[in-house]
Symmetry: C2
Amino acid sequence: MNNEGNKVTINDVAKAAGVSKGTVDRVLHNRGEVSRKSKEKVLKVIEELGFRPNLYASLLASQKERLIQCVIPEFQPGEFWSLTEKGLQDAAQLVSRYGIRIETVKYDQYSVESFRNACSKVMDNPPSGVLVAPMYGEETLKFVGRLSEAGVPYMFLDSKIDDDGYLAYFGMPMYQSGYLCADILTGGRDVPEKVYVVRIARDKMGLSDPTAARRAGFMDFMKGHYPDVQIDNVFIDPKDKAAIYTKLDQTVGAEKGKRFVVMFNSRIHLVADYLTDRGIHDCRVVGFDCLEKNIEALRSGTVQALVAQHTDRQAVEAVNSMADYLLMGKSVAKRDNFIQMDILNMYNCDYYL
Amino acid sequence: MNNEGNKVTINDVAKAAGVSKGTVDRVLHNRGEVSRKSKEKVLKVIEELGFRPNLYASLLASQKERLIQCVIPEFQPGEFWSLTEKGLQDAAQLVSRYGIRIETVKYDQYSVESFRNACSKVMDNPPSGVLVAPMYGEETLKFVGRLSEAGVPYMFLDSKIDDDGYLAYFGMPMYQSGYLCADILTGGRDVPEKVYVVRIARDKMGLSDPTAARRAGFMDFMKGHYPDVQIDNVFIDPKDKAAIYTKLDQTVGAEKGKRFVVMFNSRIHLVADYLTDRGIHDCRVVGFDCLEKNIEALRSGTVQALVAQHTDRQAVEAVNSMADYLLMGKSVAKRDNFIQMDILNMYNCDYYL
DNA sequence: CGATTTCCCGTGCCCGTTCACGGGTATTTG
DNA sequence: CAAATACCCGTGAACGGGCACGGGAAATCG
């Protein structure tokens, strides 16, 4: 019906419905000024003829600019979120020719205040669509509430909040990533009696740890497969560089022989630096995320494996489906999109980007 | 210059160059009838103003259908090439709105004759562009020669032939994939004194083995890291199902204790079936490619890891860049595109597709 | 030198939608 | 009953590029 040489134009519809194309257009974008009778007739004809507006003509004629705003945490070059930013930029280029502009609004992930400000900034001048990487549940709920009121569609990136107005979610299965990581760390090897779980992160007061699910997956795997292994948690505040070394000296560095080390956020390179400096080579080290510094640690052999996700691709997909939605009202195929988990080691990391 | 609100139209260019838009258009699609002087002037102005034709206007005006033909081996559902086919279908949907149609022409990879036929079929009605997954070097050279003559641009998929007229190549780094595979098979484990390299493939007379480079990478790794390990080659013709079992009984099945098994093509699931049937559970098995049957073997634990590539994504990228080329004469960024190598195990395979 | 050919180039319509504008009825108001 | 007000609806000019057509100027020919 609407396949192949679909030559049905708005004029055909108009003629068949006994009205003018202006009226058909008004019906299509239901912007009123049409009698109930005409509207029904037009709708029926559209259905019968299988009319689908020509995308090109439509976009050519309505040169309106659309804006997608993306709310993500701020970052230093090379940090985790920079890959997301890169994806957003790539996507921006792709959709720019559809008259869609991408803007990122950044916030300090350690400050609710800052997140709140970012949200207000978005609301000041409501865009056509919003992508948000949420850290603060409560605040995010308020934010998306206001978006809904304003009729602005939104999607979640990376993390998801318990809400049901969102159009789509793009992220990683966190629990499974922890499980996978545990398998890579141990798989088929003689496992030492002690495994160090290092956490170098600022305490976000009152904020749930985004890697908590990952940790849970890891723990469950260990409990199931190696119940006797002792797991040492090493918690370090990253403010003080020296503190990291001191703390690692007391734990990982204090022991001899085969040890396993794992981290759940993206900062495994800090541990790698430590191990290199101290000349420790008998640790099996596994971490997360494809930062440049982590890759270097892979290449040098200090870190054996990384579990990574193409957060850039994730961002691209999110922007694309938002664009599809805005441009042609096409709602997304899957609401929750889990991106693939990649295992990187020194032999395949060079082909990753 | 050409970023943001790029409002430069063909009329602006015409005015600035002191010609009419007709002339600019002729230059753009270099269809002649333009004096050398005008042409240069126009080209210069285009560069200076950063003019990029409006895709919509262009497509709206020239409603011509373009056809991209893809020559790939035929396959049974679930086999290696089915993923490529899927990618082609996905891509077809994406570019259909630009008036581009995708058609696949399949050939029997064990018959030169069949390949030759496929090529003639393409030449009978030359398309706007061609993607080809070549198996026969000589024949492919003849084919692309004829394509060049006809002015039809072409790209290579999966394998590359020694030729220099191709627009782009999308594939996997074969040698490195073998290296990676060896690392996964052995990495950090006690390695048995014997490793079985199984090859279940029809002999393509006179045809070079596409997995040869992979084998070489594997061997080099082993030579470098485990020079004392004996590597047994097990070559089986797949015609006879029983032959597979017989041969495996004589080799892999004949031994007791920890053994390693590896295959370089996509048929590791055949070995998995054998091992399951015989109740053998102490083999470490690593193979290639994300077939449904291979994934099942991963899930059941018979195969421990797969090295895979997103051949679907590879196909999508190839089609996209061909489309970009055809639509806007944009030549591809990278000529040789190596796709990432993925490591799959039972914990991440469910998130792969 | 006039006639013909070649080489270039400008003009104008077309593609299918969007949307501002203005006009024509039916209804209400003074 | 004329005038004002709703309420609907048709018209036509964009939007930016593709391309057929035809015509003017220069070069070639007889």
